[in-house]
Symmetry: C2
Subunit: 292 residues, 2 copies
């Protein structure tokens, strides 16, 4: 095969073929694809030593900045859309009304030890400049449409200052975060805040990359949801406020049309001026709707 | 344009087009190319969230391990051939007898403060199990073929235990390293060791990746050379022992045919049993042979 570039035409094949016989088939596939794409990228764009080294320094910087509370390598991927893309690839479902609830990325602020709360509880402590919202919904079986009692609905959201509780020493632990259990009708309900847009952390390499690409770091206002039940596939998603100014230019490209929701006025509730209904359709664990 | 995959056909364009008007043209080109290739890689191979996260952890690990003495991000690139490829792209020259000396990667063990030595000096302290070599050569102008007096030739090599002096507390500082100045005939000469193969550091993510790819970490025996002169383009290269067993499967893919040399027997020199002649052809600084 004649090369369509002026460089050593055998080079990439030599690198790919260096993999030994004990390489697992999946790793061989992934590394072959990655090596070919990265080499093609370098040749097509005549990547120089200095430009490549700038990329290496950015990767090393990301690693140095990462710890249990922060994953800067993940954030670098997020701002080039990679986490949202692999999310789509992994959990591919049609985004129409008759489909299970669409997925969105987990993000770096999930806590595995989210506190359990009772239906009707309020997630909010010490947030004065917010619009209180009564959020409720039903978790149903995607195939039978029947409600699922005893499902867990975990939610987490940033405060109006743009920070999740673990980023913010001024918030009480587990603020704006809670794990609810659906009742006998598959229903959950609680009070939270109408979310506000916030920037992803921009003091590291991901922030530098956004600046270089002349992009803002903001995420549209959203609420994270993780819905689980022993007999169903876990669902990780985010729901977005239809009125948010960043809905069409999320810095991590997580918005899908079916995840956009409406906050509507709520009357006669001293605890909330807004209401949000969000129903979740879970896929039975044994089903195989996405080829996975 | 119809997509040849089942995923959102607008996604990658949306990520690329998010770059703002103040993005520099070169960065726009590089990020567009990188985003398209990485997204194509993910879709073509149906990259899952778990596989992507394994890659993120490897990148973060590389950053955590890097410091002034070690660049693990660079080494990760090296084992997939990327540094050698961008070296070829940056310093492209035809590798025939009539060409300037070919380049090879600088590698992580260069020291900017290499000690100056006199022609005829010996680089070697405390290495007993080596074959002593008299290395010499001439630095000439690639265009006029005339010798270049006053050029600097820096060399560095690993000891027989596979370690460069800055990796090895048991070696004296600047061992197996020196900066020579060519005489009025453009000649340099000194004593060094016949290099031996050694593994790249394999206790980090690059070593893990090599293991996963069922590849050995060895580099063929080589001597690093940096040749400089005010009026010429600097040359970074490596020369390789023709008899080395790893010549065809260098773990970082740096070998080029024109950089393979022969160590020949040397007679009547009590200081060395081998001899190596290596001549260097430098390109005048104002010349533009490689389009750079």
């Amino acid at each position: 095969m004649a090369a369509d570039h002026p460089y050593d035409p055998t080079f990439t094949d030599r690198v790919v073929n260096a993999m030994g016989p004990k390489t697992s088939p999946r790793l061989r596939q992934l590394m072959s694809g990655l090596i070919r794409h990265i080499h093609d990228f370098a040749r097509e764009n005549e990547l120089t030593v200095d430009e490549w080294m700038a990329g290496v320094q950015m990767i090393n910087w990301a690693g140095r900045m990462s710890d249990e509370k922060r994953n800067e390598g993940q954030l670098l991927c997020d701002v080039i859309g990679l986490e949202s893309l692999v999310d789509e690839i992994t959990y591919k479902v049609a985004a129409d009304a008759d489909a299970p609830t669409a997925t969105a990325i987990l993000g770096p602020f999930f806590r595995a030890d989210t506190i359990a709360r009772q239906n009707g509880d309020c997630l909010v402590t010490g947030v004065d400049d917010c619009e209180m919202t009564f959020m409720h919904g039903q978790v149903v079986d995607f195939t039978t449409k029947k409600p699922i009692p005893g499902a867990f609905v975990e939610v987490w959201q940033a405060s109006t200052n743009g920070l999740y509780e673990q980023q913010d020493p001024d918030q009480v632990e587990h603020n704006l975060r809670g794990k609810f259990r659906t009742d006998e009708n598959g229903r959950y309900w609680f009070y939270c805040i109408r979310p506000t847009p916030y920037p992803v952390p921009d003091d590291g390499p991901a922030g530098k990359l956004l600046e270089l690409m002349d992009r803002h770091p903001f995420r549209p206002a959203h609420i994270h949801i993780l819905a689980t039940h022993d007999k169903y596939k876990p669902l990780v998603t985010q729901i977005f406020d239809r009125k948010d100014q960043y809905l069409t230019n999320d810095s991590v490209f997580a918005v899908k049309d079916s995840l956009i929701v409406d906050f509507v006025p709520r009357k006669d509730d001293p605890k909330a001026s807004l209401e949000l209904e969000y129903n979740v359709k879970l896929v039975p664990a044994e089903a195989n709707t996405n080829g996975a």
